[in-house]
Amino acid sequence: MHFDAFDRYHEKASFLHRLDPRVKALVTVIYIVSNALLPDGAWLAFVGAWIFLIAANLLSQLGTGYTFKRSIIALPFALIAITVLFSMPGKPLSSFFFLAWNFTITDMGLLRFVSILIRSWLSVQMAILLVAVTRFPDLIHALEHLRVPAILTTIIAFLYRYLFVLTDEVFRLLRARESRSAAEAGNRSGGGVLWRAKVAGNMAGQLFLRSYERSDRIYNAMLSRGYSGHLYTLNPHEMKPGDYYVTAFAIAVIFIVQLIGRL
């Protein structure tokens, strides 16, 4: 329970919070697909997509900068794309020596690199916004109603529920290990890498067994409440006319952004 930090939901009474989770999930996916479809260097369209994002941020009452602050997590991966700077044929912009090689940045390379980063950055922010304005259980319901197989959504629901219980257990295990990781003056402490790996593996094994046996108890608890192989849920969500209008409007805007990008 101490890892509430895992929850990305921010309680607010905003327009976006009240929207049906299906609408939010659908629009997010369409937005991300649209970004991927925009050609390199479609700056105007990227700006359009960005405005869409800012508007959504405003509607969520979380503040314009909310998703921006958290969007850095995708940055490390950008390293992977850095090679396109040099590998695309085009007009050389600048070149420099590093170690024994001569690197030349081309205009096409730069264009492509920046485009990739912008696509990624916009998409990540929309995904961040989605979970900030939708409670995760509602998101699971949305997936259910969007025809994701029930077995997957229930596994995800269980995962979400026990994520907190088990990560708590892991952190207690790690604490126990840490508190016994001592040294005496003059000794080289810590053991060998293999031994340390084995201890970590033991912890994983321990955790596995406890999870496995817990699943038995949960199964018993489910049985005693009438479970017989089928899971039933109530649908707590109903699409209101407003939800349809919002979906239509959002799709229209995204479509216009695509048009701008291809003109």
Binding site: M1, D4, D7, R135, F136, P137, I140, A157, F158, Y160, R161, Y162, F164, V165, R214, R217, I218, N220, A221, M222, L223, S224, R225, G226, Y227, S228, Y232, T233, L234, P236
Partner: protein, 252 residues
């Protein structure tokens, strides 16, 4: 382990009208061959509140798992006159509400509402009834305000109460609780005791907390090594120090 035959201590008990639960000569061995129950017989009258005590490994949890057919041994189990057979199973599971020791095992849904609704939904009730039952059950444990909360945000004491609500929502005629007070601080424990005292349902409660036994249950059953070794009025049993120490118990 050798089955030890224990002398049965007989205490006098008041008369009772209408049995909610009858268990006759129940035997059970786990698949690995370990015999956990050797001929257990007792009955619960309507309105009884009974404590089930005994040392670790006595077979208390095993017995409880028999009472709604999760385990099936040899012998007779009857709930409200219905024999425990495959056909009766769904009906009996609706009548017997089983609450496990660890509320994290009992609360497996992401939200409180979904968890409390699980039982009624699986009984096939219509949606309106389900909601009504959920509300009534949460009201009974005084947790109505927690309807839409996420289960993992609750404290242990709150989780315990929600766990009880998950079975109350099935309108059970018999409530079975496995070590309800374990891990609670004095305040949460006190709240739980008051709650159990007020619930107007027949209940069988296993516990190691002898003080709880003394305060709450007029009748006590002692189990050891798969057998019932004493069954009687709590204040008489708690006086019998020889009996208590023989079975690893202590006077509160």
């Amino acid at each position: 382990m050798m089955p030890v035959t224990h002398e049965m201590n007989n205490f006098e008990m008041p008369e009772c009208d209408g049995d909610v639960l009858t268990v006759k000569d129940l035997h059970f061995s786990y698949p690995d061959g370990h015999a956990a129950l050797h001929g257990v017989s007792f009955n619960l009258c309507s309105g009884d509140k009974v404590a089930l005590v005994g040392p670790n490994g006595a077979g208390k949890s095993t017995l409880m798992l028999h009472l709604n057919g999760i385990l099936g041994g040899h012998g007779e189990v009857e709930v409200a006159g219905k024999c425990l057979t495959r056909d009766n199973l769904p009906a009996i599971r609706a009548m017997v509400g089983l609450v496990f020791q660890n509320p994290d095992d009992q609360l497996f849904s992401p939200t409180v509402f979904e968890d409390v609704a699980f039982g009624p939904l699986h009984m096939g009730l219509p949606e309106a009834d389900v909601c009504a039952r959920v509300n009534a059950a949460l009201e009974a444990v005084r947790m109505s305000a927690y309807r839409d909360r996420l289960s993992h945000h609750l404290s242990v004491g709150e989780k315990k109460r929600i766990a009880i609500a998950t079975v109350l929502s099935m309108n059970p005629s018999l409530l079975i609780l496995d070590e309800p007070s374990a891990g609670l601080d004095p305040r949460a424990r006190r709240t739980l005791i008051n709650l159990l005292r007020e619930l107007p349902i027949t209940m069988l409660v296993s516990t190691h907390d002898m003080k709880l036994v003394e305060e709450l249950f007029p009748r006590t059953i002692i189990m050891d090594e798969g057998q019932i070794v004493a069954d009687g009025l709590t204040h008489e049993i708690l006086e019998d120090e020889k009996l208590l120490t023989a079975h690893g118990l202590e006077k509160p």
